[in-house]
Symmetry: C2
Subunit: 198 residues, 2 copies
């Protein structure tokens, strides 16, 4: 006897998620069967909502359900600073630390010669356009301390410095090889305070 | 800034799953946003399919999309043996080992005086009814080697033995405190071979 078809298909769906193997997926699928009808209906609707009603902010590339995201709309933020990050979820980590009050720019990726990701494959053109209005005084490169993160940082530095805008990099308070997403607030604060000109 | 509402709600849904904390749930929610539209639509449909199109077999309590499950319908199975398990997912483990060819009965729980789960709260009445037709010669208690599993085993033994049916218990080839769901095939085979009369 195999799993009923419906269970097998749900196991396949769960296995598409990061870090979920077959046994965990099976456990989750049986758990869904035992959950309340409301919870499962909500779960299905929430999945579709995230996929269909969210998109990228046309200014910074953050995830939003509006045309322009909450942070870009917020007139109290310091518009002279732009923090460049690889993914939208990293914005949440910085926001949670309450230590940064400028704007953001999401690259949606990092330069990676090995994987063939060049400057035209990530969200760099929009960033350069944002620097033209003379308001931005500093670009903080908030990429991970990985080879791709470092390569992206030095590429952006070479590109932006000639325009006369200060380019800084988060200090290596961040453990080398770790993910910004999982850093604690104190580490993020130290990284922000100790940022250096590159 | 908080997560967009849609992301927050999806995080809440993921956190309802066993073993998923807030950070893992957030990682999954952002991952959903980046998945293909087809994959997310399938995921949502598969969730609803499992909840709405599956139910319990009216004979044994296994999960099925029919009135009677595949195993109860299979005329080649040995109808003189019934293996009693706590949950439907445990049937899959025994089936995967290809060592058992009888029928099953799912209790949907175990006796637990501490949590107030008595005999009337689990699927015992139907089991007793199945024993009336004189075909069943042996009931194998396939519950975990936990206090609840042992309590259920001895309760069923006291209930069924007077009827003149042999009641056996899986051997303690199963590691004490472990889950049947995660046992390997060899361990399940040893447990089945070494079952003892109780």
């Amino acid at each position: 006897m195999q799993y009923p078809t419906q269970i097998s298909k749900l196991i396949d769906s769960f296995m598409k998620l990061p870090g979920i193997g077959e046994k965990t997926a099976a456990r989750m699928a049986f758990y869904i069967f035992d959950m309340s009808d409301n919870d499962v209906t909500d779960f299905a609707r929430n999945l579709l909502d995230v996929k269909r009603n969210l998109h990228y902010c046309t200014i910074c590339g953050n995830i939003t359900d509006d045309e322009i995201c909450e942070i870009c709309q917020d007139q109290t933020r310091d518009r002279s600073q732009i923090m460049v990050v690889a993914q939208p979820k990293e914005i949440i980590s910085f926001e949670r630390s309450h230590e940064y009050h400028g704007l953001y720019h999401v690259l949606h990726g990092l330069l990676s010669p090995l994987e063939g990701t060049g400057p035209e494959d990530i969200n760099i053109v929009t960033l350069i356009k944002r620097l033209r209005d003379d308001v931005v005084k500093e670009v903080i490169i908030g990429t991970d301390a990985t080879p791709e993160g470092e390569a992206t940082a030095s590429y952006l530095s070479r590109l932006i410095k000639p325009v006369g805008i200060k380019v800084t990099r988060l200090a290596h308070g961040l453990a080398v090889g770790s993910d910004i997403e999982y850093a604690d607030d104190l580490t993020l604060m130290r990284a922000l305070e100790g940022r250096t000109v590159i």
